[in-house]
């Protein structure tokens, strides 16, 4: 009798524990997803005595948005150069100037699930990606996110399939 009671206790505790574990996993995923979605958003700390703290963040956001727009134009121009290697190479060199180096990593999201899980293509570098645009003549990705350094140069780029 005691054995049966102990078995029921054990089963009940296992169920409670596994439910807890799943809940933890779910909340971790949610936290990860919110971390992903919040990645681009500047953290603005608003205090009554320090209202000017929002200014650098705003400037930073503007720099990133400006870089994204300029970069998107370069990507389109390079892909649409249609065999004009000189024009494509000129645009590649100009685009490269927006980056901290030619080895800046480029991550390409090929699919994003509703829970925020991202599937990636093999990561590449900006130097190779710009040549890829020239060689294939296709710009299949939108700019999802850029990271910049203190000089405003891009240090990381994330693209997403259109």
């Amino acid at each position: 009798m005691n054995r049966i009671k102990s078995f029921f206790n054990l089963a009940a505790m296992a169920l409670i524990l596994s439910a807890g574990l799943f809940a933890c996993k779910g909340s971790k995923k949610a936290a990860d997803a919110s971390k992903d979605s919040d990645q681009d958003k500047p953290v603005v700390v608003i205090k009554d005595d320090q209202p000017e703290i929002t200014e650098p963040v705003e400037r930073d956001t503007n720099t990133r948005e400006d870089a994204k727009m300029r970069l998107d134009n370069y990507f389109n121009s390079i892909a649409n150069a249609s065999g004009n290697a000189t024009a494509a190479n000129r645009n590649i060199n100009e685009a490269k100037a927006l980056f901290a180096s030619g080895d800046v990593p480029v991550f390409i999201v090929i699919h994003q699930s509703t829970d925020g899980t991202k599937d990636y293509d093999e990561p590449t570098t900006i130097k190779d990606y710009l040549n890829y645009l020239k060689d294939t003549g296709k710009n299949l990705n939108n700019i999802a996110a850029v990271k910049t350094n203190s000089s405003g140069k891009i240090t990381e780029l994330e693209l997403i399939r259109k």
Partner: protein, 196 residues
């Protein structure tokens, strides 16, 4: 009493661990149709990339330095030791070359003008998960080749080729960040038909 509680707790941890492992394995295998479609498209895009690279390498107007750079990029698309089949209307024999040798021969073709187009690129065997966890599929392409000499002589043919595709989930670390990605590798390219 204390020892019974400890014993029970260790049993619970064991059961919970098993549940966790099982749940995680299920989650990994559970690829939604949308995700699968994105992976299918990614692999097909790599074949389209190869068609562009082959066209650039074969084009006599491509500068040597550019052709060399593109050859390297094209080689990166393939699994090690992959081979490319080459056929001709003049012989029934199909010769297989390692891909880098194939690219070198393509660049050195004895024509003044070379035009290569791939079209009707599609799966003939969908990507299917293998017991080792890799996905394997087969894509068919049609290649139109036109080589013209200055004296006006030309050679044209159309070949149907089957490309084995391998897709595998891999991990890499970049800038202190671990990233999981789908690695697409092209395997052997076999000639299945040659016509004028």
């Amino acid at each position: 009493m204390k020892s019974i509680i400890i014993k029970n707790l260790s049993k619970i941890s064991f059961v919970a661990s098993l549940l966790c492992v099982a749940a995680s394995a299920f989650a990994q295998d559970n690829i939604s149709p949308q995700r699968k479609q994105a992976i299918d498209s990614l692999a097909l895009e790599k074949v389209r990339d190869l068609s562009k690279y082959i066209s650039i390498i074969g084009d006599k107007e491509t500068a040597y330095s550019e052709a060399t750079r593109v050859m390297e990029r094209a080689g990166e698309l393939f699994a090690p030791d992959s081979e490319m089949g080459v056929s001709s209307l003049t012989t029934e024999e199909i010769t297989y070359y390692k891909v880098q040798e194939y690219f070198q021969r393509l660049m050195a073709l004895n024509y003044d003008k070379v035009k290569i187009d791939w079209y009707d690129i599609h799966y003939i065997s969908d990507l299917e998960k293998q017991p080792d966890g890799k996905y394997v599929g087969v894509v068919t392409v049609y290649q139109r080749f036109e080589g013209t000499s200055e004296d006006g002589l030309s050679y044209k043919d159309t070949t149907k080729k089957d490309i084995t595709i391998y897709v595998e989930k891999k991990k890499t670390q970049i800038a202190g960040r671990t990233i999981e990605f789908w690695d697409v590798m092209l395997g052997d390219i076999r000639v299945t038909e040659t016509s004028a």
